[in-house]
Symmetry: C2
Subunit: 224 residues, 2 copies
């Protein structure tokens, strides 16, 4: 399947490499596709990423990545997501499933980060309002990139993921893909896109747990 | 032990009845201690509660309950907590452990509730600032009242609770009490009182999960 990934940091690179490994046709979109040698935040350079994927993927602009994708994944940092999606272009997102894995983290006050939007709104809702014909599905934002693409690394995969979105068929498709691509066995459908508020508001305790446990290799499980 | 519980709704009544059962000397504080026949929100009347506790507990004002307690539990609704604690009186809270189980839920916009304070502040921090010599410990707010006092009802008790607070000895004492009183086996210390932001921000997804799962008998477990 043709997948466009927006964002070349740890999350975009990790998801992208996994999808290439799964045989998908990936284009990774970034603001500066010609700067292959620069480190990408905490992530390696895109030259290294391309080598890791055995040059089976391409690096391109946000616009080209979104145009390429039958499905588009927003893996940009939450503070930049709306700008990146504007650059991707409404026409390239229209009617497509847009998987939003970003968190609107605000590092401007230092650590730990707070949220740029929460409680009565969410990043996922902002994206859905800005791109009304895209089928926004919020998911994967509640766990570390390594766990996103390999949930079995934590407690044998016995933990939960959440999805929020207005389009039932899109959510159902995404739940299937999460299973096929990454092996997610338990995905809880929270409801419409407004329920992304709850999923994004897990981030503050996620950051505190990272400190308390001393590792990002954990995840939420809903004991029943 | 002498315990003062502030709040006569479902949470205060449930915790109070359990502590009486455990042999503690409980005074339940309420704004209207003489109105024993009125229903208390979704909870039964205090007449029924006293009968349930075989009249081993007392119902009194917030002030009397706080004065009585070696340990005080804030089980009022979050929107009313600061007012109730003012009525309890700073002198009756000074240097005591104040277990804060309330959530600052805002029902004024309808369902689902949003939070009155979050992200860069929390109810627990507001309480700690208003009562600087009290040892505020935030806990129990992330689960239903029935689960609070009997965690074994969900998945055999294999799930987690959180504590936040500035006083390490007070948190350690509360962790012991949670085990003795209710049987909590796993309590994660998130850090100082500012980490209550994360615990309170679990409420939106808790409410969504209540809808998605159709039962309040669940809890968060941190898979590791």
């Amino acid at each position: 399947m043709k997948v466009g990934i927006l964002g070349s940091g740890v999350v975009g690179q990790t998801i992208g490499a996994k999808l290439v490994e799964r045989g998908e046709d990936v284009v990774l979109g970034t603001r500066s596709p010609t700067q292959l040698e620069n480190q990408r935040g905490r992530a390696p350079s895109l030259r290294e990423w391309l080598e890791k994927t055995q040059n089976k993927a391409r690096v391109a602009t946000f616009q080209e990545a979104a145009r390429h994708g039958e499905i588009v994944i927003n893996a940009t940092s939450g503070a930049d997501s709306l700008k990146a999606l504007e650059l991707a272009g409404e026409a390239n997102l229209a009617t497509k499933i847009l998987i939003d894995v970003a968190n609107p983290l605000d590092f401007s006050r230092g650590m730990p980060p707070s949220l740029l939007v929460c409680n009565t709104d969410s990043l996922a809702e902002q994206i859905q309002r800005a791109f009304p014909t895209a089928k926004v599905v919020k998911t994967l934002n509640t766990t570390n990139a390594l766990v996103m693409v390999d949930p079995g690394q934590v407690a044998g995969g016995d933990h939960d993921l959440f999805v929020s979105g207005n389009d039932a068929a899109a959510k159902s498709r995404v739940i299937d893909l999460l299973q096929q691509w990454f092996g997610w066995r338990s995905v809880i459908d929270l409801g419409d896109i407004t329920t992304a508020r709850g999923a994004e508001m897990l981030l503050p305790i996620w950051v505190q747990l990272l400190g308390a446990l001393g590792t990002p290799m954990f995840n939420f499980r809903i004991a029943r």
